[in-house]
Symmetry: C2
Subunit: 601 residues, 2 copies
């Protein structure tokens, strides 16, 4: 945790005084991902740890430590935001952790769009997983393999060695099993093409939040300019090659468009002066606005900026087909299809499940779902000791109305059949703890006391006189379920979930004995832990040209150069280690001094 030193202290400050968070706490969005800059929920206790590389024993290879066998084995699938956040925050030495992933490094995804046009180097935003592991002082090991099957009955996963492209001609593709006591599924998601014909192949590039995508896109951008500069082409052909189409007006698409525009204005002018005027950038968005998850002010600003930047934004347009030479779109509510020649398509819209997850969902009877359903404690429904978090999972929140009878019974201590305000207030503490949507509803109504909502409903009757029948109680609480919605598939959510789950694991034994969660309304006793609660810490949308829009919590919006500097400083501070921090900052400096690198590597 040394990496979060400075900002970690800020984070602790916010943790201790959560009301402060409205004023300054900000987080970041990019690549469709949200990340929290202030780890409000992160415990920084092991900040002073020295590296204990020698103490690491890789259980699967050498059983050097006899105690290992007594430890509970935790297998983590994935080295993305969720998996790494879990790993970094896990500190209880009673566990032996094995991380399984085909990718032996973590990627700081919010800076991936910067890689596509050469503002930041790919290597600068990755951290080798083994660097993270050797700094842990708990048993941790890494295995470069892809999980292909989960066997919950026997507590085993089956893996295959990854990356067959690079051969070492032995044991290739051979399967092997790894046993677990706890399984943490954090494999992420893949791009959703909505079955649009011709998307695969045909110069389309998917933006799957992987470093390889960004590198390929970068190479292809340079390649397009080289191709367009060849002597044997007509003006039309050059225009076609330099027509970049971005499908999806979310943060990734918008940021890529902005980066590309910057590249054209700042570097293409010097390096490819003869073709600069032929470049065209089009953004195709199915809804009525780009960045539609942001505040209206930001959307308007972004659309205005793109208009001035000569980026063509096609709103309310659906891509119907991509052929070898043309991309076809249809405007909403129209039957007419328009086709335009294109050189490169970047597809950055929506997410879908990975094959492993689809297979596992069928296996456990969740076949018709979009993602792995978990309860509020991130436990996969219907499985023991399997947890899922990040983009591959979704929390299946329990509705208050489902438990309303039990809640009322528990609340009505004098069995009067009605609730007095005192009884109501008491039960609401537990209800708020158990059902996260209640708090969201109260926040949306801007009240601190649920009773205020009741008094309003009762025509502002005197608070203390209110008595609620079960029907009244039901109708008062039924509205809160309307605030239930799935968490966005963002880095911010994944990061918070990883940290939350690690904290639960750290205190597992303690909380088995003294549960600290809300009472079980349908059973007896209390839940071991508080349910996961997401704190939305705001988001960023870089728009190119050193302009960034930021949406901060508490209805704050910031647009322009100042946000850009906020963005720089926060992104620098959020790097996984001092190493990547130094690299990213030096990349920015290099770009200021030397411009982007246009070599085709």
């Amino acid at each position: 945790m040394r990496s979060f030193n400075f900002f970690g202290r800020f984070a602790s400050a916010f943790h201790d005084y959560p009301s402060l968070s409205k004023i300054i706490v900000v987080s970041t969005v990019s690549g469709g991902s949200l990340i929290a800059y202030a780890e409000a929920s992160t415990n920084n206790g092991n900040r002073g740890h020295v590296s204990h590389a020698d103490a690491i024993t890789s259980n699967s290879i050498a059983h050097a430590d006899a105690n290992t066998s007594k430890k509970k084995k935790v297998v983590v699938l994935g080295t993305g935001w969720a998996g790494i956040s879990f790993l970094k925050n896990l500190k209880n030495p009673m566990y032996e952790v094995e991380v399984v992933s085909p990718r032996n490094f973590f990627v700081f995804t919010p800076l991936l769009p910067s890689v596509t046009c050469g503002k930041v180097e790919a290597r600068s935003i990755v951290e080798p997983i083994r660097n993270i592991i050797r700094k842990k002082n708990i048993d941790a090991s890494y295995c470069e393999a892809e999980c292909i099957r989960i066997d919950p009955a026997n507590k085993k996963i089956y893996c295959r060695t990854a990356r067959t492209a690079i051969n070492t001609n032995s044991k290739q593709g051979e399967e092997f099993a790894i046993g677990y006591d706890y399984l943490i599924i954090a494999v992420g998601a893949q791009v959703n093409t909505f079955n649009t014909p011709g998307v695969e192949g045909n110069s389309s590039w998917f933006f799957e939040q992987e470093i390889e995508d960004a590198q390929k896109i970068r190479r292809n951008v340079i390649e397009s300019f080289e191709k367009a500069s060849l002597p044997n082409l007509s003006e039309e052909e050059r225009k076609k090659i330099l027509h970049f189409v971005v499908v999806g007006g979310g943060p990734t698409g918008v940021e890529f468009s902005g980066e590309l525009r910057d590249f054209v204005n700042q570097d293409v002018l010097k390096l490819y002066p003869t073709v600069q005027h032929l470049v065209k950038i089009t953004v195709i968005e199915a809804t009525d606005h780009i960045l539609n998850m942001f505040d209206k002010r930001i959307t308007t600003f972004a659309e205005g900026k793109f208009l001035r930047d000569d980026i063509d934004v096609k709103l309310g347009s659906m891509v119907t087909k991509i052929s070898e030479n043309e991309i076809s779109t249809r405007a909403k509510g129209s039957d007419k299809t328009t086709s335009t020649p294109y050189g490169m398509v970047l597809w950055s819209t929506g997410i879908g499940s990975r094959p492993l997850i689809r297979e596992f969902m069928k296996q456990i009877g969740q076949g018709n779902r979009r993602a792995l359903a978990t309860d509020e404690w991130l436990r996969v429904e219907g499985c023991d000791n399997i947890y899922a978090l990040g983009d591959c999972a979704t929390i299946n929140q329990r509705k208050v109305v489902e438990d309303i009878a039990e809640i009322f019974k528990r609340a009505d201590k004098d069995n009067s059949g009605t609730l007095r305000v005192k009884e109501f207030r008491e039960i609401m503490k537990d209800v708020i703890a158990r059902y996260p949507q209640v708090k969201l509803y109260m926040q949306s109504k801007r009240v601190r006391d649920f009773v205020d909502i009741l008094t309003e409903a009762k025509g502002n009757a005197a608070k203390e006189k209110i008595e609620l029948s079960i029907e009244e109680f039901k109708s008062a609480l039924s509205v809160v379920d309307s605030k239930m919605k799935n968490l966005p598939a963002t880095a911010q959510v994944a990061n918070q979930q990883g940290a939350y789950l690690a904290k639960c694991f750290n205190r597992m034994e303690e909380c088995e004995k003294n549960p600290e969660g809300p009472p079980r309304f349908r059973g007896t006793g209390r839940h071991r832990f508080q349910p996961f609660r997401y704190r939305h810490l705001g988001q960023f949308a870089p728009l190119g040209g050193e302009k960034t829009a930021a949406q901060l919590p508490g209805d704050w919006v910031s647009i322009g150069h100042s946000s850009q500097w906020l963005w720089y400083s926060i992104y620098a501070s959020k790097q996984v280690s001092w190493r990547t921090r130094a690299l990213v900052v030096s990349d920015w400096i290099r770009r200021f001094i030397f411009g982007r690198d246009a070599s085709g590597i």
Copy 2:
């Protein structure tokens, strides 16, 4: 030329006082390539030029400049040492240059072995060709294409767009023609497998001095350690995966072995502690010593160091076959073949011609040669206005004995049938200028006056009394041809040839009028230019562990840490631009601080 500022001045100093060069001038070898650190033959006149990006017109695309058509068109094939050195030194605005190459960047090849193990970043040692071009104040353009055919009769080359792997779905693979007035062929060479069975495929990696090779090798090295760390392997299998075999004990092979050993000792220990003891490195060399082109002291030191480093050096061994799992070798003079399991083979021995060159050689009747034969002025034999330099060419030096009768006739001014010392001295000036081997012979004999050699042959007779018959003259000069040998295929040679040719082109008109070369013995008049003369400026061999051996001109040898620092400072100074210099130095600093990056990208 701003990039050579500081060392350029040194270079000029040596240029002005060539005798100094024996004392300090040093150059560098690595990756089988020699480069001159002091551009003794480079004119630094345009040091003060500012970038005239706006003045560049790409003739092939936009004929903005009406004067262009009057200019002579020079087409340069290749963006390696020879091509770039020519381009950087060409300053005469009467030419319009078009560079054609599938690779839109120059690679500083001596640092490539450092890339394979993560000491230096690939991007740090490349310079985009367009950056170089836009700093030129002569008409220059670049075309990313591969030349596939040369048509000398019609002064045209045929090209195909390169890199079909990355598609922009238009004009792919389509041929187009480019006309030329002068053609400079500098396409380099490719690896020579000596038709060893099984070399292609089967985990062999060629070291072709391309950035992609180095990146792939790097990825494969990391991959090998990841594979060997998987849980489902036996000790034997792990050992096999971690057996790295280097074929060829030249500078590249030796440097790669040293880098790999450093990586294992410094980083693997921390990152893959469980497999460190299983690593084995073997170097297979067909001759009796590694680094056999170096001084015996260096060879002995390197062999001793490798022995201490536990690198297995198999001398006098030929690779006979590579199968999926084993590499077979045969000791010299033995019939027995030994087979060893291996994980990765790096092939870094010998060079062969590229298909374009083989085809062109057949076309012009040089089908049985190893490389394109040129005369001492780098003109391809049998072609007009076509020049070849660097690894794809070889200078077909004229023997003195072939012209001996003409030389004698020219020398014998009084037609006496014998040469007096005065006549001999006079003609020798021209002979030395025309036939570079004469000077080499004199250097090897350590004499400044050829007459000294004669007096020795004549039993130390009094110098002035010597008279030579044609037979005596012939026998005295016939020995000098023994000093003729092909120049090594190194960056140092290519670099000097490029600079030499550019100087000839710069002064073409001037020298047409006032030829400055030696007299033509078989014709009348003089050659326009002095023939190309190679100055060997010494070489480096990094051995790993911050140890470097340097062989300096004048029989100097330096081994150890001091050479390593010399190596660092010279390699830093030799970078193409301040940009790459800053990057390379910051890479070294990063490695000192953070260690190597072990992520698999």
